[in-house]
């Protein structure tokens, strides 16, 4: 069991039909870009459990979700998953304006 400090989180990533955690916890306050960078390096080199090394892994279009600890999961969690917006955002902005 990895020791997880109060300000740290376990990072979970989904890639190529598989899902796994980074081996080491990270700062819960890390920026989204830092998390994408660490995950990219880990997946490219086979550093994520359950996910085969993929030298072409690219998480530019993935988003970061952060969750506080709960009774069920007593440590903070960060998830990197594919984004899911659709549509023409320029038109949306125009309509909203």
């Amino acid at each position: 069991m990895v020791n997880i400090a109060a300000n740290e989180a376990i990072v979970n990533v989904t890639w190529a039909g598989n899902n796994g955690d980074l081996r080491d916890p990270v700062s819960f306050d890390a920026t989204d870009e830092e998390i994408r960078t660490w995950v990219t390096e880990s997946v490219r080199t086979g550093g994520v459990a359950n996910i085969a090394a993929d030298p072409n892994a690219n998480f530019a279009d993935f988003v970061v979700d952060r969750f506080a600890a709960t009774d069920e999961t007593p440590y903070k969690r960060i998830f990197l998953r594919p984004k899911t917006p659709f549509g023409m955002h320029l038109l949306s902005s125009w309509l909203a304006g």
């Binding site: 594919p82 899911t84 917006p85 549509g87």
Partner: protein, 133 residues
């Protein structure tokens, strides 16, 4: 008009109607809930359809294309991506001849569908209703 989506399974079955509160006439927002449903359905999901405003043959936006690519790389498989306007339907899909998994070299192909293709797509009319067409 409000954009709406539907997650589609085998034999054109409906897995989930996607009508988030934050939707607008030009966009469906990013949704962790939608991704969770896609992931939980990954063994049976075959595609996703969403509506665009107006009539005529719709085309995918940059946001659409980058979302198609992100979801396919997450799932590790290709999906059929449908876009509906008030009177037309197109199917977008990445060139699968390169391989089963999405690869950077694959290009997006868009095909307009007519009534001979859409007889079994019973979700079409309901999706347009949910879009207030």
């Amino acid at each position: 008009m409000m954009e709406a989506g539907v997650l589609i399974g085998r034999d054109n079955s409906v897995l989930h109607w996607h009508t988030p509160n934050e939707r607008s006439g030009g966009a469906l927002p990013d949704s962790r809930d939608l991704w969770d449903i896609i992931w939980e359905s990954r063994d049976i999901v075959t595609g996703f359809a969403h509506t665009h405003p107006g009539s005529g043959v719709p085309g995918p936006s940059h946001t659409d294309v980058t979302t198609f690519r992100a979801v396919e790389t997450g799932l590790g498989k290709h999906l059929n991506w449908f876009i509906l306007s008030s009177d037309s339907l197109v199917l977008c899909l990445f060139d699968s001849e390169v391989g089963e998994l999405w690869q950077p070299s694959q290009t997006l192909v868009t095909v307009e569908l007519n009534s001979s293709h859409t007889d079994k797509m019973t979700w079409m009319s309901r999706l347009r209703e949910l879009s207030h067409y």
